[in-house]
């Protein structure tokens, strides 16, 4: 195949990617977000599948059977946990404007500059080998296509070729240019690259389709389906051995470590972190990605084993198995399919390289260049020069440096290794982030020093056990390091560190680096005390769900700054347009209206710092902001106290609120009771006045009459008799009054059912009417009685009922009109009750009086009619009696039109 055709196809493909990215950015400028879609998000995660997957899996499968699989099974297992881990990481990153995995770790541990540097260096060391194998995959597939041959392509001859004749050199340049164009077109304060994400999602679809096409072609074009393929494989013992999983063919611990490393790698590889966390537009998308991404992995792996087996069958087990995907269609004389495969592999590589290099460039510029720039060229807030262009320049230079490193590593090292073994070194490298990152997300006590030491120890052990030997074998270091150990110390040999033997190199390196890393991280953390800022950040990361609803209540750091200072800093680092957007979203006032020297508080400063962090990383943003703010110092004890207390206080204040409501209710009840008591007290005082008055009147007359009788012994007999009669009647009155008071007291304590009998109503009322008749006649009252003709019976104490009715009649006689008074007593059955009514034609009751008429000691008086006669106990006694008989008493009246008292008593059943 001619090289011009291949290059033309590659350029056309890249052109298509640019179109997609351009179209996406156009749409997003019009406010339509293409990436705001869970499926695009899940597909963009498939940037995980690189040339390693596309070419390398088949190579691994041909050599070692299903050993290629843990790399995809691990992410499938950890994806089940994304709902807990990734979702939380996204929430934290949105809240903190995290730009990369180094930024995440640096922010978590008090926005530490040092941690940012360590994490960035580790990321570069891990990822450069990984990118170099993409370079290798593209270069090899290009050479195979152009030479139309499948002869073994080895690294030995490569060193002899000058770089300007090397395909990989030009590929490296091309990839650097793509990365610059895709990843550093503009400086977004949120590090969002919508065009890049959509292009990556498209590449994911493309490489999957191509791989499935090759698989179908191999199974059904070269063989008669799966059955035929595996039947033929079974006949060759060498190939058949790769289909099984037993003690001899598969090393169990190697399998275990591959699973574990890839479980971590799926979120910790800088490019995975970038697409999964930084580019995420909606945390809810995790719900789709958590099953769709494993499904993608399943589909892209389903044909790996068949292709590997058929390659071994057709080309022999000694062939370059990494290139079976390409060489099989080429040998079968399928130039179009071969070209598609090359483009598929190209797409898998470019997608990975562009995202990985962009993510690394962000880290390098934010965590290596920026702190140095701020440190060594102190920028006063007064400087107005715009720095955004310089930031983009730094990123572009970073990209070029990374690609140069990559090319160097490719040329001297990875040419002589398989794709997968180099890739796994990278996996073990990024797995070193796991303790600091996962611990930081769930363990509040973890400190910056713990993270620094853990990460450093992990990185050094990893570097010594895994990448260093590859450099030794490439001739950069003396071979004695491997054979005799570092400095001739036998216990410092990279393949048998501390004398641990019998493990493969990857498991050995992963075991030591990860366990020492975790151990150091934990031990140092529990023996150091975090700074206030660390403690605060730890709380934000671990308890992010508490901060989602309202973050202002959690602000514990109080800072102030001059508005112009903040404004100038923002303008320098994120440009005037974005700055004005931020300021305007914050204050409705126009910028020019703010008077010079305006002070801004914590709320505005934290918004500014977050936006700055989005552009240059949290650590650098912290340094810059700290230069221009006044901060109230806060001690660690105070900080911890506040953080621990915020939630306790919320819980406590809720309890207090409930308690105080309860108290208020009790107070209200007490107040009401008190009012009633006071009222009662007044009533009692009135009552005593009334009683004493009532008692004094007859006593006075008795006393004066008795005096007359005593002093005038010669009084006529008629007068004597008259006086004595008055004395007798007055005494009777006193006795009556005293009886009534005693009655009342007795009633209060009496048991209602005492001596209860059946009571005939008609005779009862007749007795009552007969008793009251003389008084009515005496007062010339027209007294009418209407009694029921049938016999009705109630139940209770006859004497009490009689008293109740007599009280009503006596009241009526007192309150009816005078002269021409009218009183009526009536009774009838109403339903299952007896209604007894006493009606008078007196001056009636007002609504207020009706409400209180049955209260004891109540007497109504007005100016017109004066104080009424009586004790104020009659109606209260009546009501008590009626209630004790299971009945009720009502009054119907209106002022000036008389009153009717109604007693309802239950009818007695025979």
């Amino acid at each position: 195949m001619s090289s011009s055709l291949i290059i033309a196809a590659a350029i056309a493909y890249i052109g298509l990617l640019f179109l997609i990215a351009y179209w996406t950015d156009r749409r997003s400028k019009r406010g339509i977000s293409t990436v705001n879609n869970p499926y695009i998000y899940a597909l963009s995660l498939a940037v995980y599948c690189t040339a390693w997957t596309f070419f390398g899996s088949v190579g691994k499968a041909a050599a070692a059977g299903i050993h290629f699989l843990p790399i995809y099974l691990g992410p499938t297992v950890s994806a089940v946990l994304w709902w807990f881990v990734l979702y939380k990481m996204i929430l934290v990153s949105k809240a903190q404007r995290i730009t990369s995995i180094a930024d995440f770790i640096s922010s978590r541990y008090g926005k530490s500059t040092l941690l940012g540097v360590i994490a960035t260096l580790l990321a570069i060391a891990s990822i450069v080998p990984y990118i170099s194998i993409q370079l290798k995959a593209i270069a090899v597939s290009y050479d195979i296509l152009t030479h139309e041959g499948v002869q073994a392509w080895s690294g030995e001859g490569l060193l002899a070729i000058p770089f300007y004749q090397d395909t990989a050199w030009y590929i490296a340049i091309a990839l650097a240019i793509f990365a610059i164009i895709f990843g550093t077109r503009n400086l977004d304060p949120n590090e969002r690259h919508e065009g890049l994400v959509v292009a990556v999602a498209f590449e994911s679809v493309f490489k999957l389709i191509v791989f499935l096409l090759v698989g179908i072609f191999v199974c059904y074009g070269l063989f008669n389906g799966f059955g035929d393929l595996f039947a033929q494989a079974q006949a060759v013992p060498e190939i058949a051995a790769t289909l099984f999983f037993d003690q001899e063919t598969v090393d169990g611990w190697y399998w275990f470590w591959l699973m574990l490393l890839s479980m971590f790698a799926i979120l910790l590889l800088p490019r995975q972190f970038h697409v999964a966390v930084v580019e995420n537009t909606n945390p809810e998308f995790v719900k789709t990605a958590t099953w769709l991404f494993p499904l993608y992995l399943f589909l892209i792996n389903i044909f790996v084993l068949p292709i590997a087996v058929s390659g071994s069958l057709l080309q022999g087990t000694a062939a370059n198995a990494d290139m079976f995907v390409l060489s099989l269609p080429l040998l079968a004389d399928q130039p179009f399919l071969s070209l598609l495969v090359a483009l598929g592999g190209f797409s898998a590589s470019t997608g990975m390289v562009i995202v990985a290099v962009t993510a690394l460039a962000i880290m390098i510029s934010n965590h290596l260049f920026m702190p140095a720039l701020i440190q060594y060229a102190p920028t006063s807030a007064r400087q107005t020069e715009d720095i955004t262009d310089r930031l983009l320049g730094i990123r572009r230079v970073s990209i070029v440096i990374i690609m140069l490193l990559t090319y160097g590593y490719f040329k001297f090292v990875s040419a002589s290794y398989g794709l997968v073994s180099i890739g796994l070194i990278s996996f073990a490298g990024v797995a070193q982030f796991a303790p600091a990152l996962l611990g930081g997300l769930f363990w509040k006590r973890a400190t910056r020093k713990g993270a620094v030491w853990g990460l450093s120890v992990g990185a050094i052990v990893w570097g010594f056990c895994l990448p260093l030997p590859t450099l030794v074998e490439a001739g950069f270091f003396p071979i004695s390091i491997i054979e005799e150990g570092l400095f001739g110390q036998a216990w410092l040999r990279p393949y048998t560190l501390f004398g641990m033997e019998g493990m493969d190199r990857l498991s050995h390196g992963a075991f030591w680096s990860l366990s020492l890393n975790t151990l150091t991280y934990v031990l140092v953390s529990i023996n150091t005390i975090p700074s206030p800022l660390e403690a605060y950040q730890a709380n934000v990361f671990v308890n992010i769900y508490d901060y989602l609803e309202d973050d202002s209540s959690h602000e514990v750091i109080r800072r102030t700054a001059r508005f112009e200072d903040v404004f100038h800093v923002l303008r320098r680092f994120i440009g005037i347009e974005k700055t004005e957007e931020i300021v305007q979203s914050f204050t409705s006032r126009a910028l020019r209206q703010l008077p010079p020297g305006t002070e801004v508080g914590e709320d505005f400063i934290s918004v500014a710092e977050r936006n700055l962090a989005g552009a240059i990383g949290a650590a650098s943003a912290k340094i810059i902001i700290n230069n221009i703010v006044q901060e109230e110092p806060i001690s660690i004890e105070e900080m911890l106290r506040i953080l621990d207390q915020t939630r306790e206080i919320v819980a406590y204040s809720k309890v207090v609120e409930a308690k105080s409501q309860e108290l208020e209710a009790t107070t209200q009840q007490l107040r009401t009771a008190n009012e009633q008591l006071q009222e009662l007290d007044e009533l009692k005082a009135d009552f005593i006045t009334t009683i004493t008055h009532e008692l004094r009147t007859p006593i006075t007359s008795i006393k004066s009459l008795a005096n007359i009788l005593a002093e005038n012994t010669d009084l006529p007999a008629a007068d004597k008799e008259k006086y004595l009669a008055i004395i007798v009647s007055e005494s009777a009155r006193i006795a009556r009054l005293v009886d009534q008071v005693l009655d009342w007291e007795k009633l209060q304590h009496a048991l209602p059912t005492n001596n209860a009998t059946r009571v005939a109503i008609r005779p009862l009322l007749e007795t009552a009417a007969a008793s009251i008749k003389p008084i009515m006649q005496e007062r010339q009252i027209d007294f009418a009685v209407q009694l029921p003709t049938n016999s009705l019976h109630g139940h209770g104490q006859r004497d009490q009922l009689l008293q109740a009715i007599l009280n009503l009649l006596s009241n009526a006689s007192k309150f009816c009109a005078s002269p021409n008074g009218q009183v009526q007593l009536a009774a009838k059955a109403v339903g299952r009750e007896i209604e007894i009514s006493v009606t008078d034609n007196g001056f009636g009751l007002s609504p207020h009086e009706m409400d209180n008429v049955f209260e004891k000691f109540t007497q109504f008086s007005d100016r017109e009619h004066g104080k009424p006669p009586g004790t104020g106990l009659g109606l209260a006694i009546t009501q008590t009696i009626v209630k004790q008989h299971g009945g009720r008493i009502l009054v119907e009246s209106s002022k000036g039109k008389g009153a009717t008292f109604l007693i309802y008593l239950p009818l007695s059943q025979d």
Binding site: P38, I66, L69, P70, L73, T76, V77, S78, A79, V80, L81, W83, F84, F226, G227, F230, A231, Q234, A240, L243, F244, F245, D246, Q247, V250, G252, W253, W255, F256, M259, E284, K287, T288, T290, W291, P294, L295, F298, I302, L305, Y545, E549
Partner: protein, 97 residues
């Protein structure tokens, strides 16, 4: 998620729900999402077990079903089962309009 449910109920958006929560929260799971979390954790553990080497060795012996290696068939089925079960937990998302 449970907290959200409680607060939204407490804010009176769902007064009936609040009463329900107060009366019965001790007897039955607070919310569906709480249940889902437990299922997902269990599933992750089972998935890890299914792909550990001692379990794979059970299926990794010399053998074929339907002309395919038993190991290949086992891995495919286990893989699809995990994906299906995770999908089932989130089947309501994204919500259809």
């Amino acid at each position: 998620m449970v907290i959200n449910l409680r607060t939204s109920a407490a804010r009176g958006k769902d007064a009936g729900g609040a009463v329900w929560l107060l009366l019965f929260s001790h007897a039955i799971p607070l919310s569906m999402s709480n249940d889902r979390n437990a299922r997902l954790l269990t599933l992750a553990f089972v998935a890890f077990l299914l792909f550990t080497f001692p379990v794979l060795r059970i299926f990794g012996k010399d053998g074929f079903v339907f002309g395919l290696p038993v190991l290949y068939v086992y891995i495919c089925l286990a893989w699809l089962a995990i994906i299906g079960l995770v999908w089932y937990q989130f089947r309501d998302y994204p919500p259809r309009r």
